[in-house]
């Protein structure tokens, strides 16, 4: 439990978008659980922090929401990816890959030297 990482600023929305792309329409709780599972339970996610991020994405038009029935017959608000969201996901994912690649190069030589 002690080794869990906090979610970095800005990465949460990327995770949300990716989750929605992979899973299709999903409610907030589902997205939260899915992110936790995907991270291999390494992320310490306060589920509450997800909702402002969802709202922000919705304001940007990247996702849309709709009330529906959950698998165990509970009423829940389902979020789905829009076309804008798909484009945003592509862009964000690419820029994230670039960033990690650059960082990886920085970090790699120091490992060699040790």
């Amino acid at each position: 439990m002690g080794d869990k990482t906090d979610v970095w600023q800005g990465t949460l929305s990327l995770m949300v978008l990716k989750t929605l792309e992979a899973m299709g329409p999903l409610h907030g709780y589902g997205i939260a659980r899915r992110i936790e599972q995907t991270s291999g339970d390494l992320l310490a996610l306060n589920y509450g922090t997800l909702y402002p991020a969802l709202l922000k994405l919705e304001q940007e038009g990247a996702i849309a929401s709709e009330w529906g029935q959950s698998e165990n017959n509970r009423r829940a608000k389902f979020y789905s990816l829009t076309r804008v969201g798909r484009r945003l996901l592509d862009k964000e994912a690419r820029s994230w890959e670039q960033t990690t690649a650059i960082l990886a190069r920085f970090l790699a030589p120091s490992e060699d030297a040790s």
Binding site: H27, G28, Y29, G30, R33, N46, Y47, G48, T49, Y51, P52, L55, K56, Q59, E60, G61, A62, S70, N72, R74, R75, A76, K77, V84, L88
Partner: protein, 882 residues
Amino acid sequence: MNRLRAWFRKLTGVVPTQQQEQEFSSELESHLQLHIDDNLRAGMTPADARRSAIIKLGGIEHTKQAHRETRTFPLIETTFQDIRYALRQLRRSPGFTATAILMLALGIGASIAIFAFVDAALIKPLPYADPTRLADVAEHGVAFPRSNISYLDFRDWQRLNKVFSSMEAYTGGGFLFKTSTGVEPVPAARVSDGFFRTLGIRPMLGRDFYSGEDQPNAPPTTILAYGTWQRRFGGRKDVIGQTISLSGTPTTIIGVLPQDFLFPPRGGAEFWTTVHQLSSCEKRRSCHNLFAIGRLKDGVSFETAQTEMAAIAKQLEIQYPGSNRDQGAHIGPLPELIVGQIRPILLVLLAGAFLLLVIACVNVASLLLVRSESRRREFAVRGALGASPSRLIRQFITEGFVLVAAGTCAGLASGVLAIRLLIGLVSKDMLASMPYLSRLGLNSHVLLFTAAIALLAAAIFSLTPVLRLPTATMREALNDGDRASAGTLWRRLGANLVVLELTIAVVLLVGAGLLGKSFYRLLHVDLAFEPSNLATLFVSLPQNTYNKDELVVTAAHKIIDRVSTLPGVTSVAITSTLPVSGNGNTDWIRIVGHPFHGEHNEVNEREVSSDYFKTIQARLLRGRLLTQQDDATRPRVTVINKAFADKYFPGEDPIGKKYGNGDLAPDSLKEIVGIVDNIRESSLDEDIWPAEYKAHNQDADSFFALVVRTSGDPTPVLTSLSAAVHQVDPGIGTFNVLTMQQRINDSQTAYLHRSAAWLVGGFAALALLLGVVGLYGVIAYSVSQRTREIGVRMALGAQRATVYQLILREAGVLTAIGITAGIVCALGASTMLRGLLFNIRTWDISTLAFVAIVLGAAALIASYIPAHRAASINPVEALRAE
């Protein structure tokens, strides 16, 4: 694009909707439910399942708040919250709110009203092309620093000067204008041809005067003032080219002046004509009846122009030693001539209004301080519950802004009312001489000024409580024991503010006292005649009909006889110029047998009928008065005033002496037959000049004033005067019927002094009230803070008298400091008033003493109430309450 959309949706989210809130609540509820379901499936107890779900969420309220803040801009949203909270706070203490807003409205309203006048008169440029390059051009005589210029001098100046791109003359005048109800004398102006071009004014309809249209052979033409065109010609466009009769002369209307045109030196002029027909005065170089304007050439300064014109005047003096001796040139900015007289008064009033505003702000600020003091615990609690210091400070600032916003709105409303009221107090004649006041109103300047003072006030109000909000000691504020020390701190600050208020109140009171006393002295200046029960009326005989002196004299006698038969009339006379209308209309004299070197001995010249002195009840000092027998068939005689005798006949008996004009021309020689008291010909605040009273029978003028003495109130006679004159000849023009007392009270001098005295007096009264209320507030608060201390003192045996002393001493010290500081400041400030004061020094001891007593007494009353409350404290209750 996305960001823009998000921004827009956030903006719309500013308006809080119940629906959004509910929807998110149910979303969270469903989230928890799903989580609880999972937890139950994992084998938890229902209670544990819910608890764990909430913990994992991070708190319901916390999540809701984070969501809310994303929904819109947190700053705007919390500002709305602050405003709502501020309004609620203000509603909860309506007494405080009403007082604060009322004070602000007073201060802001007064400032706005006075500023509107300042703007109309001093800030807005005059409606001419490049008004700062326009010069007032006049002559400079021995007695008058700025005197009329003679027509021939004007033409020479116009021809010889190289400093003005154009220089044009103007003079007043009047025409008898036939209307449906009879003949009406209307004010007019005569100008040289390029007058309007020099000002940069183009007629809105028709054309300007042609070049050369002011020459003697030019046909008579006139340009109408806009108001005249509207009022007398119904604003019809076809008036251009029409021929009207002005004093019997057929005159063609060629143009109409623009609506915003104004020329205060001839403010009331309805018809503008050229000087093409020279009056007898304009044919003589020694007769001065014009003024001129000039437009400075590029790069020429007023000083250069003054030097050059003085040189030209010097040249003419050498050329015409008789008429032009000591006649220099006076060049000054034209705007200065127009608004120079009203500027000091307006600036004094603006300063007064500003001081009032400061007092109002200080008062409201100290009220806010008292409130912040009593809200210390509230803020400490809010701080303890997690409100950040910046959020708390913002709350104060918001409250300050809300107060100021309300105060400014109320102030604007009261300012507009005050402007209406003040402009209503300005008489019609005064308005004609200050036409720029017609531009008064709520314009961008005034609104900008309002915004500026509102911002200033808001800054003061938000900063004062912030200074008193020591966030670090907030925790201590939760303890009651802290109260005493905080109270002391506040008392010191509040006391300083009250001293400031009292100081300002003293300054305003001293100003009002000086102006009031000076106004009183002005109205009680020695007139040397009896102004009550006198009715007056101006009479203008049409010169076409009355073209000979004998005809004028006969008509004057007929008018006097006719008016004498009116009921209540005891005596009737005529004079060429009414008393108290100002020095001027002068004659240059030379006394037979006295050394003479061509100097201009200037004396006021008046032509009066035989009963004049009896009618106005002026005292004869020596010799005899004029009689009915002193007519054209007899040698010319005059009565002189005491100043004349003192100046020109020191140690001599003037009776029987003769004098004439500079050349002692035989037809100008007059014999002095009597000396009268110094009848006040000058305006109220001017010096008495030597004056000569010639017999109207011997020196007739077709324009004169009728003076009617009545046995009782002259008002009933006023209405029948014109009719009586018209019974003699309906073609005679009459105007401006007023009682002498009205004329004196409405004279420009009295008017300016009165308005200054009343307005500053009003400000001072308000300042006194606010200052004393402020003092009361401080003392009352101090008493409420010291309840326990006083209780202890009384329990230990202090007498009630001692308690009174304790409180009154505190108030007394503040008042004494305030009065002393105020008097020191007032002495400095009243030098600003010097120009407005008449017959009174700026350090008038009795005024200063009176102000000190009034303020001291008011302060005593204000502090007696809390002192009394302190003395009646029940020590047992006071100690228990803490």
